[in-house]
Amino acid sequence: MSIEATVPLENFIQAVQNQLDKAQTAMAVKARNLNLPMTFAVKDINLDLRAHVELTRGEIRIRPAGANEPDASVFHLVFTAITRPMIEENAVGFSEDPDEYSIDELEEELTDEERRKLEWVGIRTVKKLREMDADGSSRAVSRVANLKVSRLQQALKRSSAPMVNHVTPVTPTQDDPPEFNNILRVRGRNLLREGIMPRVTIDDRPASILKSSDKELLLAPSDNQWSGVLRVETEPEAITSMSFDLATYAPIATEQIPNPDPTITSDNGKISKPEAKP
């Protein structure tokens, strides 16, 4: 059975659900348009499907039975309408934290099959994977999911590496002090390692950190650090770098205008006349 001729069982079930939703919507819309006080609603649907089943790369796939294939399996699928509270009660809490990352983010470290195996044992987010490592259950998980511990460790190491998404200048409000004009905001993830501030350089010169959190850094760059290569190092082997160019946002240096009146001196921007000598 070629993989092209088959469909993941999960996709088939979702396709049926999608059709039921569409049918329900169509019935409701029609009843409203015709000003009908009542309409039919799908309560239950049982579907008997004769199909062949196979497990490919950790995924259950089906192919409907053709003619003269009496030995095919019979799938008896039962769909029932449930209310929103029931959905919320039964749905897996995929990502309560909006900043949480799906395990699919590790597509470079883990194959589709490996990620699916982790989902089978309930690990759907990177955070969950880290928690598993922290409480020492990675060996048990690797045994249950039939994954090598070294693969998990490697994925964890990559998942905890710092990552910079973007660098933006901080837009000061009217209430902010004037020095807020010279701040860069770096957004990303894993920017702190166990609460310790990272080492940040721009073009190999250290940049001052005003504030740091796991997802954001506020930097105070010098005048010539508004473009170049930003490098964030949380530990010796956990480094990320990103090129950026915000030179147009760099503070403009005050030009030294020649003083036409030698009797007037400028001191720190304050203009004053020298006192007359007696």
Binding site: V7, F40, L47
Partner: protein, 78 residues
């Protein structure tokens, strides 16, 4: 070429007919149950699941057995 309908259109069509049939009676229909043969065709990416009533009552040896669908519809207020 006969175009086969997506499953949702088949279901909507059945409920339309039921609404028409029950509207003319004095009795209020509260629930309907149907068991139907249905030809299912697996969807490609971004396609609807094709699910329509079989075209022919007599099937040849070349025709795969249809799936069967049992639907319970309840009358609900809007």
């Amino acid at each position: 070429m006969i175009v086969r309908r997506p499953l949702y259109q088949t279901l909507s069509s059945i409920t339309d007919d039921l609404m028409s049939a029950t509207a003319t009676t004095q009795l209020q229909t509260s629930s309907v149950e149907l068991t139907l043969p249905i030809d299912l065709r697996l969807p490609g990416e971004n396609d609807d699941l094709i699910g329509d009533l079989p075209l022919f009552r007599m099937r040849t040896a070349f025709d795969p057995e249809p799936a069967h669908i049992h639907i319970v519809l309840n009358m609900v207020a809007l």
